[in-house]
């Protein structure tokens, strides 16, 4: 093990700060070269700070307004997430080197830094601050595409993520008022009797539920997921790569810290693994296919957190780690296609391996990794979660057999949309005669680095297993057993056979220029329609009320006119005797009242 020198003066500086400050400087610097230096230097500085703490502990404590803010909690869980966030920030910086966009440079860095800050947050207020900062900074990666669709999607994205932040704050306030503590997951990693990990927050209070909902929105739980498929495909080329790394994995981290072992997550996660598969099969926009695929991958991590054993949590963390890299690689390859071919619509692509062989090769590595082929990173990570579920299913939780079957189904689904569809329709399939230039050198270097990591981690899985939250448990796990390799190869090869079979029989759907509605129809069309209808109804009601009041006033006015006008009833000539009688009667009543009142 390498011993890194400890710099005492920097002991309290969270790795998030150099990245955020780098982003703020980039926002002010017009010089393109300087901004690019910052994009690469800031993650390197963050990495230096990551290595700086000598021991597990909480650093960077700030007293502010009567609150104790913990900005740098360095423990077994934050270590792995922050490390891969730093790695992703560096790769993203490389990938975006050719872009001359100050807004993208600044927002990319601030967003990455905010993600790091949230991972290191030791209390819910610090978490809230960085949680909202990720939302606000990342929206510029969508708006950076500078078209109307991206602008609208960005607004929806921002609204949903601000809502997530508001729920988090509300939950934190309620929780603090009940428990007197703002701590975030203080019990995590303790009391691991029987391999179970105590949930840091849990669902035993309203505050706990609100925070859970906040995390669920960012994690793209079913029915809360559409911001992901809506916004990511409309982001800039680099923006989609950057976005794919942080937001959802931050939510997975937050769930792992706050809700490990919460049963409901098993079922939510299982649904997440399965339903995006069906949408991805017939989606024409390949970046949207990747967004559905992202949703499916998150499901595996959520199931792992729900199971909550040490092995399962190792699985969730390892999966998040490798997923960030291979998903970024796939988004990078599609970004390169978009840059060169001008589209990522499957119906307009094909045969690009002849023009972009290096990009095709890197995409295939990403596809093999996400499909969990042996020797690739997905294999050694996903195995932990599946083994944990299978182990629990055979040790007193038979209900998990169904969940395990869903996960295996979803594994075949992953192969369909990310393992086959993405590379096949972009680079092979029908040669559409597109002859474009290969991706720029910086993009290829970034993709090459990510591809190298996919293979490196797949082969040298021990490195990954030392980073997971429970390395001593991971050290006892062997992914490359004969049984596991054969089982996985059966699954993947038979699924590939199914693909060739369906294509040969003409039973595989053509790529069509169309869209498929998803749950966002509820708020984009139905909800929007309801609001418009309600608004129109209120408008009509107000008009009707106005008419009613006007009519009543007119009627009252005419009655008064009839009574008091010179032509009115009270102005008519009436006998004076009668008037005298009425006057006397009125006087008598007045006298009577004043007598009684006295």
């Amino acid at each position: 093990m390498i011993d890194f020198p400890h710099i005492e003066a920097l002991a309290d500086v969270s790795p998030a700060w150099p990245v955020i400050i780098g982003g703020l400087i980039a926002a002010a610097v017009p010089n393109h070269l300087l901004r690019k230096v910052l994009a690469l230097l800031a993650p390197i500085l963050a990495l230096v700070l990551w290595f700086n703490p000598e021991t597990i502990g909480t650093y960077g404590i700030i007293e502010f307004g009567g609150f104790t803010l913990e900005t740098f909690r360095y423990d077994n869980l934050s270590r792995i997430w922050s490390f891969v966030f730093i790695l992703a920030a560096f790769i993203n910086g490389l990938y975006g080197l050719h872009e001359r966009d100050r807004l993208a440079d600044a927002s990319g860095l601030i967003y990455s830094g905010a993600g790091l800050g949230a991972v290191f947050a030791g209390d819910l207020l610090t978490l809230f601050f960085f949680w909202e900062l990720t939302a606000i900074s990342s929206v510029f990666l969508i708006w950076g595409a500078r078209n109307n669709a991206a602008y609208k999607a960005g607004l929806r994205y921002l609204g949903i993520h601000i809502l997530s932040g508001v729920l988090l704050l509300a939950g934190a306030v309620i929780r603090a008022s009940e428990t007197g503590s703002w701590a975030f997951g203080e019990f995590w990693g303790e009391g691991m009797e029987g391999g179970a990990v105590a949930a840091g927050i849990g669902l035993d209070s309203l505050g706990g539920w609100l925070i859970f909902l906040a995390f669920g929105i960012k994690c793209a739980f079913p029915f809360m997921h559409n911001w992901l498929q809506d916004a990511y495909p409309k982001a800039t080329i680099t923006g989609a790569v950057v976005l794919s790394a942080f937001t959802t994995k931050l939510a997975v981290y937050a769930l792992a810290r706050g809700y490990a072992g919460t049963d409901i997550l098993i079922y939510i996660g299982a649904v997440m693994t399965a339903f995006p598969v069906f949408f991805a099969v017939v989606e024409n926009d390949l970046r949207k296919v990747l967004a559905y695929s992202l949703n499916n991958q998150l499901g595996f991590m959520v199931v792992g957190i729900g199971v909550g054993t040490e092995l399962a949590l190792n699985g969730a963390a390892a999966h998040a780690f490798v997923h960030i890299i291979y998903k970024a690689l796939l988004f990078m390859s599609m970004g390169a296609v978009l840059l060169r071919a001008g589209t990522v619509k499957a119906s307009e692509l094909g045969g690009l391996f002849k023009s972009m062989p290096a990009t095709s090769f890197f995409c295939l590595i990403g596809a093999a990794s996400i499909s969990a082929f042996p020797l690739f990173s997905g294999f050694v990570a996903k195995a932990l979660t599946l083994s944990a579920v299978a182990y629990e299913a055979s040790h007193g939780h038979p209900e998990l057999i169904a969940i395990w079957l869903v996960l295996v189904f979803a594994s075949a689904g992953v192969l369909e949309h990310s393992g086959i569809k993405i590379p096949y329709f972009a680079f092979f399939a029908h040669d559409r005669g597109l002859r474009v230039r290969e991706a720029p050198a910086n993009m290829l270097i970034a993709m090459g680095l990510a591809a190298l990591l996919c293979v490196f981690l797949g082969v040298n899985y021990g490195v990954l297993y030392t980073l997971v939250p429970f390395p001593e448990v991971a050290a006892q796990y062997e992914p490359y057993t004969f049984d596991h390799i054969v089982g996985q190869m059966q699954l993947l090869i038979a699924a590939m056979f199914a693909f060739t079979f369906l294509v040969r029989m003409g039973w595989y759907p053509d790529e069509k220029r169309s869209i498929n509605l998803d749950f966002d129809w509820i708020y984009r069309r139905f909800g929007d329609g309801m609001v418009r209808w309600a608004w129109a109804m209120v408008d009509r009601l107000m008009a009707a009320l106005g008419n009613l009041i006007a009519a009543a006033r007119a009627k009252f006015g005419s009655r008064m006119f009839e009574a008091f006008s010179p032509m009115g009833a009270l102005s008519r000539d009436i006998p004076s005797g009668l008037l005298a009688i009425w006057t006397s009667a009125l006087l008598a009543i007045v006298l009577l009242i004043s007598y009684i009142a006295r």
């Binding site: 049984d483 089982g487 079979f501």
Partner: protein
Amino acid sequence: MSDPANKKDELVHPLAKPFLWLDAKWLKTSMIWIFGVLTLVFIGADFVHHRHDYIPIAEIPGFYAYWGFGAFVLAVMIGWFVVRGLLERDEDYWDEGGDHD
């Protein structure tokens, strides 16, 4: 006059030229056989060496192959007939409401 097909081939990236066979018709038609045979080989491995698994059903020889094949077909069919069948709309569907997509 230059042949357009030749001109197109001239634009092929030098690194891709050794791999043009990937686009060959014989490969496309033989893929089904290649994967079919490979599937049988991996199923056969279960008969040579009994696979141990926590889940009893997974110990059936060739279980993962059957499940993988079935899952793939099911995913494609549900995607095709349920998602596309019920939820497919024109590309400009969202534009019509002024809500660009």
